[in-house]
């Protein structure tokens, strides 16, 4: 039995997928969700094999929801949203259905997935897709979505002081405290506005608006002092980047 979760804020859009799925006897829709919050819960609870996901949804969009998913299912996007994401889809194996889509197109997408089903590959592909999509969707440029104690928190970018690498995670340090996000430093480096967030060090990305002062520190290295007094190391390669952005 293949477990499927539908995530779309339009009831009719879900009904259509349900209707189209009737011809696949092994597929069982375990839950229908109205938004990314419900979707996230359903994915955790049911561990589905496949999800159908809209992009434009209340509160957090489809991409942001995927960023918070721990055990990634295969994803087939169903969306009318093409201008930012289409390119991302083209490069990666995860399928997408552009609304309105035909039964043939839908069945082709499901068949393709059923035949291949390389689950590990799926996850990698989805991750890669997210990185590309994150750079292309302007909605994501002004905030980061994190999960804390099972709750979802949306951090506006201007609240971020700096980001710090922590093993497989990245610590997002804000005035309200630190949040962990299961992402790489290079993901954030690509996603964030390079005129505001600078990779000043292998382990640090710094919000330049938070800096009050830059002091020399040992040979070739510097240290940035933030408004709240915290100190962030600036490496030999990071310093020129910082100087350029600050116009020094």
């Amino acid at each position: 039995m293949i477990k499927v979760v539908l995530i779309d804020d339009e009831p009719l859009a879900r009904e259509l997928v349900l209707e189209y799925l009737k011809v696949f006897p092994h597929v069982q829709v375990v839950q229908e969700c109205n938004d990314g919050f419900e979707g996230l819960k359903a994915i955790q609870q049911h561990q589905p094999d496949l999800i159908f996901l809209d992009i434009q949804m209340p509160k957090i969009n489809g991409f942001e929801m995927l960023e918070l998913v721990e055990k990634m299912p295969a994803v087939i996007f169903a969306t009318a949203f093409e201008e930012y994401a289409l390119k991302a889809f083209e490069v990666h194996a995860v399928d997408y259905l552009l609304k309105p889509f035909s039964r043939e197109r839908f069945e082709k997408a499901v068949q393709k997935w059923l035949q291949a089903r390389p689950t590990v590959e799926d996850e990698k592909e989805t991750q890669a897709l997210l990185e590309t999509a994150a750079q292309q969707m302007p909605a994501q440029h002004n905030r980061i979505v994190v999960k804390i104690n099972g709750k979802i928190k949306i951090i506006p970018l201007h609240d971020i002081q700096y980001l710090e690498a922590a093993d497989d995670y990245v610590r997002v340090i804000t005035s309200e405290g630190a949040f962990l996000k299961n992402k790489t430093m290079s993901f954030f480096e690509k996603m964030l506005d390079p005129t505001q967030f600078i990779r000043v060090h292998r382990s640090y990305i710094l919000n330049v608006t938070q800096i009050t002062r830059i002091d020399p520190y040992e040979k070739d290295a510097h240290i940035a002092i933030l408004k709240n007094g915290e100190k962030v190391p600036v490496s030999k390669t990071g310093y020129p980047k910082l100087k350029e952005v600050l116009g020094l």
Partner: protein, 347 residues
């Protein structure tokens, strides 16, 4: 092709009257002041002034087509040349006619410098008048062409702004219809009709400058009906139109994008059901319409200033239509965002 100054009726009349006056004055001067006999005075005046009239018309004509870079110098030089030719020619003709009147011919030659100055001044005056006339003409036509071009650009921009129907709306609606065809065909049919009516409205109303508030609201309801099929119970609307506002006028398709924006931000900020309120009333003869939607201030920090919402195209449209930047205002109180537009009424 520039119109000739002397082909304008009023110019012809003024020219004719002036010519007559000058000719009579000239004859009178000769008769009373220089004691010429009446015959001589009239013939002298006629010959001089008829020839001068030709010279003046020729100059004016030339300036229609030919205005070189140093146009004032050109007028002075031409006037001088024409005046000399004119003095010689009229002198020669008159000397021939009055060959035997030695007193007159002697006077004719003596007066030549004065006659030259007289002719030169009139030629110069006419030259400058013609020059100014044609220059103004040209300026006016340049200005008119520029205005025409600006008007066309404005129309094109307005057209584009009106056409800015969100493609998502269309695609999502088609997707809903696609779903309804399988589940509830009757509803699918209704939705197709509504969507068609709505789209027809967008095409039809483009030519019209103004429609009634009633008509605009009807059209808006069509749009809302479609959106309600898409979002079901999550979307409800309250429309209140004051009696005084119903008869007022509004440019077509102004409300729909504002409401679309309200729905977008209302629905995408929350997972719960929302109500969009639309109020229209009259204030000092101006139509006021307020569209309010709930929003989550913690999700949209930019919306506090009102710039975060996609209302710039409405702002631009109102500016192009009325030349004013102050017709759209936004406020947010608590978790309610309100966009208000003022629509000045046509005179």
């Amino acid at each position: 092709m520039a119109k000739l100054l002397l082909s304008i009726k009023s110019a012809q009349i003024i020219f004719g009257i002036s010519w007559l006056c000058v000719t009579l004055l000239n004859a009178a001067l000769l008769y009373f002041w220089f004691s010429a006999n009446i015959e001589t005075a009239i013939v002298d005046s006629l010959i001089h002034n008829i020839l001068l009239a030709f010279a003046v018309m020729g100059l004016s004509q030339t300036l229609t087509y030919y205005r070189p870079k140093g146009k004032y110098l050109f007028v002075v030089v031409t006037s001088t040349t024409l005046a000399i030719i004119w003095v010689m020619l009229s002198g020669w003709v008159l000397a021939k006619i009055f060959e035997k009147d030695l007193l007159y011919t002697a006077w004719l030659y003596t007066a030549m410098p004065i006659t030259f100055i007289y002719g030169f001044i009139l030629l110069l005056a006419m030259g400058i008048i013609s020059l100014l006339f044609y220059e103004t003409r040209e300026q006016q036509s340049i200005l008119a062409r520029k205005e025409e071009a600006e008007k066309m650009a404005r129309e094109a921009e307005l057209f584009k702004l009106r056409q800015q129907l969100q493609p998502h709306f269309l695609f999502n609606s088609l997707n809903s219809i696609n779903a309804l065809i399988a589940i509830r065909p009757d509803e699918a049919r209704q939705m197709v009709t509504k969507l068609s009516d709505f789209l027809r409205g967008t095409l039809k109303k483009e030519d019209k400058q103004w429609i009634s508030v009633d008509e605009e609201i009807q059209y808006l309801r069509l749009y809302l009906d479609i959106e309600k099929v898409r979002f079901r119970h999550r979307l409800s609307t309250e429309i209140t139109i004051s009696e005084a506002a119903t008869g007022l006028q509004i440019p077509p398709m102004i409300l729909q994008p504002i409401v679309e924006n309200a729905i977008k931000f209302g629905l995408y900020d929350t997972t719960e059901a929302i109500t969009i309120t639309i109020d229209a009333w009259q204030e000092d003869g101006v139509l006021m319409i307020a569209v309010a939607n709930p929003f989550d201030s913690s999700l949209n920090p930019a919306s506090k200033s009102g710039t975060g919402f996609g209302l710039s195209s409405i702002q631009r449209r109102l500016y192009l239509l009325f030349g004013r930047q102050d017709l759209l205002s936004t406020t947010s109180e608590g978790d309610l965002f309100t966009a208000t537009i003022k629509v000045p009424q046509p005179q």
